[in-house]
Symmetry: C2
Subunit: 219 residues, 2 copies
């Protein structure tokens, strides 16, 4: 477990918890680590909302697939980030999304009820974890507002430019990398992949941007 401490220290869930307590806490929480290969399902749609997950290495996608087979990427989860906490905290019966490993990944799973309910050992860290969860959930909410700002645009061009604008702002530079390939970006923006490729080409011709693979530059 100790080999993950450098990652866990960066995880917002453990803000304000000092290293000495972390190991004890993980034991008390019954945290377990599982490895997933690329494309493997970490959390399956319609399963029970028991666990929240932390990405120790690799990355994962939170996706939704409707009955026509159309895929939406709801969010990307990178190393040291947490996922599925909303379902576990809200105590839903059936999870409406899937979480899929994006590459070979090590995932820590924690039974959320162990965090939310005081344990018999009377550990003192529950309050801190609940406060951290509250912060994390508030920030996830903000991510959704951002995503809606993007996907509420009516054209592929507008969605793309809104997305790229936000990424540039985040990177603090007109040159930046995005964490998506074309199909994934299309599934995030809720548009057709081929139309997206065409739009990127057009914007390049118009001199609005440069791009090479997943590197973009706004001009």
């Amino acid at each position: 477990m100790k080999k993950y401490f450098n990652i866990l220290r960066k995880c917002q869930l453990f803000d304000g918890i000092d290293d000495n307590d972390l190991f004890k806490m993980l034991t008390c929480l019954g945290a377990k680590v599982i490895e997933f290969d690329k494309k493997y399902t970490i959390i399956a749609e319609q399963s029970k909302a028991t666990y929240l997950g932390i990405v120790l290495s690799g990355s994962a996608d939170v996706v939704q697939i409707d009955y026509y087979g159309n895929r939406s990427i709801l969010s990307k989860v990178l190393t040291s980030e947490i996922f599925a906490e909303a379902f576990a905290c809200a105590g839903v019966q059936s999870i409406p999304i899937s979480v899929i490993a994006n590459e070979p990944s090590e995932i820590m799973l924690i039974d959320a009820s162990h965090i939310l309910h005081t344990c018999s050992n009377n550990c003192g860290f529950h309050q801190q974890l609940i406060f951290n969860l509250m912060k994390i959930l508030a920030n996830k909410n903000l991510e959704f507002y951002e995503r809606i700002e993007i996907t509420s645009k009516r054209t592929t061009r507008e969605k793309l430019l809104t997305y790229l604008g936000l990424q540039a702002k985040r990177a603090g530079s007109n040159q930046f990398y995005i964490p998506f390939n074309r199909q994934d970006l299309a599934d995030y923006l809720e548009v057709d992949r081929s139309g997206l490729s065409a739009e990127i080409s057009k914007l390049r011709q118009e001199g609005v941007l440069n791009s090479r693979k997943n590197q973009f530059e706004l001009l």
Copy 2:
């Protein structure tokens, strides 16, 4: 303040707080009540994220308007529900949405920092409020997942049917009222109003649904 107690008891933020403590608590939190007429701005975009709000009477819309003037309705806030808590809890500099009164409404505003930080009076209720906020934020996250499930559909018809299906499920009946007029529904589904009207007419002709104003029946 006491006249609002029946509403406040229904507000999730005060779950587990007993009536005797509620009044004291509201004073300690510096809660204030303000009335807003229809269409008045309760929280303005780009303002500082200081307050969270509770609807004591009436209702409000959380909206986003882009530089083309296109309006999105992100969510509807009904009596006894809470809004803007994510921005206050996450401590953002500038709020990316506006909250607009949908009818004459009484709104309670609470400075979120008074909830998140223990006060000098050393009140014992902060932990409970933070736990409640965590629950509320988790549930708001679920609402977003639902909204994305709806708006990720590519056609007006699919968006509408997905939305109506969820409403029917929620109502536990094929007959139900929706809280939107046509324009508002279009702004929630992210589609064109006239196209939405046309689609509803077509579905009625096809025998898929009945509707009269904001009452719908799925057949």
